[in-house]
């Protein structure tokens, strides 16, 4: 009797598991991510005490060493009207991107995305959580950028926005997002969730995407951003990012523009150029001293050689400042800096 009961129970458990697995197969849990590593050489030879060199944009900052980016793991699933994404990363690239204030340790895990979403209607979705920022052209994940080093606009803008947002899709060509967010890059907000953000997405013609972004709040400040890209031919793509940021309490800000041009010579080899002009604004510091803004122009040429999930990125970059903001090997101020970089990015 006991054996019969056990056998029957096992059968029912197995049947339930199989049936659930079949249902889950239609909407499987997706597991994806990436790992990346790089070598960079600053031609000036300058290296600080912590191993960094002249060009101070996000990530890829270690001089003359084989360094690592991050391991990034993304879990996501969509079942009916509900979906979620949980993305966590480990490594120096991750540590340089986000996390609550006071977090330290380059190998500590950081949340890149953690949110849930629900389709209220076929056109309207509500999303809440901690999300990659909607502002700007470049992203944290190396799989999302053509160039391995990042722009000054990316470095100085928000990385993540935690909050709640509504996305309304008017048509294939027009959608609108509005939301309330915490301060930039914060899991929690000491002065309340008071940043307002909005994004208008328009497709004027097929192949041309336009994003007009705005985020404003205290003490984060206000940033207006235009991100657009046009696939001119099957092989040639042109992108543009322009932004203006004003810090709260007249504490300065920045403005800039970056042009991205990419050409696919073959299915596996593309060459890209990024030209950026970035300026900081004049402001008075806490002691009342005027700090004059300055401009830096950056020119980057990157190759993308792909072999399935692996991308090899050789890159050369030349930055030219209005002022002597860089250091040479003799630790003397200089207006220019240049670097050579090789990166490997594996997406899974």
């Amino acid at each position: 009797m006991k054996i019969k009961t056990i056998l029957f129970t096992l059968s029912m458990i197995f049947l339930t598991t199989v049936l659930y697995a079949q249902e889950a197969e239609k909407n499987p849990l997706q597991i994806s991510g990436s790992v990346d590593t790089y070598y960079k050489y600053d031609f000036s030879g300058f290296e600080s005490e912590n191993g960094t060199s002249n060009i101070s944009t996000s990530f890829a900052d270690q001089q003359n060493s084989l360094s690592i980016g991050m391991i990034d793991i993304v879990l996501s699933q969509e079942l009916g009207k509900a979906s979620f994404v949980g993305e966590v990363a480990f490594g120096p690239r991750n540590a340089g991107s986000a996390g609550p204030a006071g977090n330290s340790g380059v190998m500590e895990p950081h949340i890149q995305n953690l949110y849930v979403s629900y389709m209220l209607t076929p056109e309207l979705a509500i999303t809440a959580g901690y999300m990659g920022t909607f502002v700007g052209y470049e992203v944290i994940s190396p799989t999302g950028n053509f160039n391995y080093s990042t722009s000054y606009l990316f470095t100085n803008g928000p990385f993540q926005n935690a909050g709640v947002k509504l996305d309304y899709t008017f048509s294939d060509r027009v959608s609108l997002m509005v939301g309330l967010f915490n301060d930039w890059n914060q899991y929690n907000d000491s002065n309340g969730m008071s940043d307002f953000g909005a994004q208008l997405y328009v497709v004027p013609v097929s192949g041309w995407d336009v994003y007009i972004n705005m985020i404003t709040g205290y003490p984060s400040g206000t940033e207006l951003d235009l991100t657009t890209g046009y696939q001119i031919t099957d092989d040639f793509y042109l992108g543009l990012n322009a932004a203006d940021y004003t810090a709260s309490d007249d504490a300065g800000g920045f403005s800039g523009a970056a042009l991205y041009a990419q050409y696919a010579f073959t299915d596996n080899f593309s060459l890209g150029f990024r030209g950026e002009s970035f300026s900081t604004k004049d402001y008075d510091d806490e002691t009342g001293v005027s700090v004059e803004g300055s401009t830096v122009n950056a020119f980057t040429i990157s190759g993308n050689l792909t072999a399935g999930p692996l991308t090899f990125i050789p890159e050369v970059r030349f930055d030219n400042g209005e002022n002597e903001v860089f250091l040479n090997n003799d630790l003397m101020p200089t207006k220019t800096a240049s670097q050579l970089l090789f990166a490997l990015v594996y997406a899974f």
Partner: protein, 193 residues
């Protein structure tokens, strides 16, 4: 009870083995290099109007169809997601869009699956996969130029086969229903009752 449990357990073990991959389809191309799946299906004792009406009724509920009552044709936009076999799970690889175009004549109809477009997926800044519309291209260019197509071919072929099968079985099913209605409506009134 014991035999029932054993039977149920054996049944459960067989469920995962639900089928084997179908063989690859033969691809045919038009004179201008476009991929086309086409076939004429014969339907005895049928009229063009009836076939057209049945098709409109059958497919209108589930899908957006464009119908031409003058030429007796219907057109349905179809789409399908191809997957990549990731290390730990299947992830979206591309969306395939095409047109299912069906024409009707007396005693036959012809379907064409054509105008195939390939739109790759990419992971966006929010960690979700979405189509990259600006990289939309004809599927033919991918089939003819890329070695990667062989990895996705079986899934694509299975979908094409299922779409054709669905069309044919749906039409057969509706025709059978109509035939039964016609038969059941015939009543012979006997003089001698």
């Amino acid at each position: 009870m014991f035999k029932f449990s054993i039977s149920l357990l054996v049944f459960c073990l067989l469920i995962p083995f639900k089928g084997y991959p179908q063989s690859s389809l033969d691809y045919t191309f038009t004179s201008d290099g476009k991929l086309l799946f086409s076939e004429v299906i014969e339907v005895e004792d049928s009229k063009q109007n009836d076939l057209y009406s049945l098709a409109v009724e059958s497919f209108s509920a589930d899908e957006k169809i464009k119908k031409d009552s003058k030429d007796k044709t219907i057109s349905i936009a179809k789409s399908f997601t191809l997957h990549d076999k990731g290390i730990l799970s299947r992830i979206p690889y591309a969306e395939i869009k095409c047109q299912l175009f069906v024409e009707f004549k007396d005693q036959r109809y012809r379907y064409q699956l054509k105008d195939f477009d390939f739109i790759p997926y990419a992971r966006n800044r929010y960690g979700k996969y979405e189509t990259v519309e600006r990289k939309r291209k004809s599927l033919e260019s991918l089939i003819q130029s890329s070695n990667d197509w062989e990895d996705q071919r079986q899934e694509f072929d299975n979908w094409i086969s299922s779409e054709i099968e669905n069309l044919v079985l749906t039409m057969e099913g509706r025709l059978a229903e109509e035939s039964e209605k016609t038969v059941s409506e015939v009543i012979e009134i006997k003089e001698e009752w």
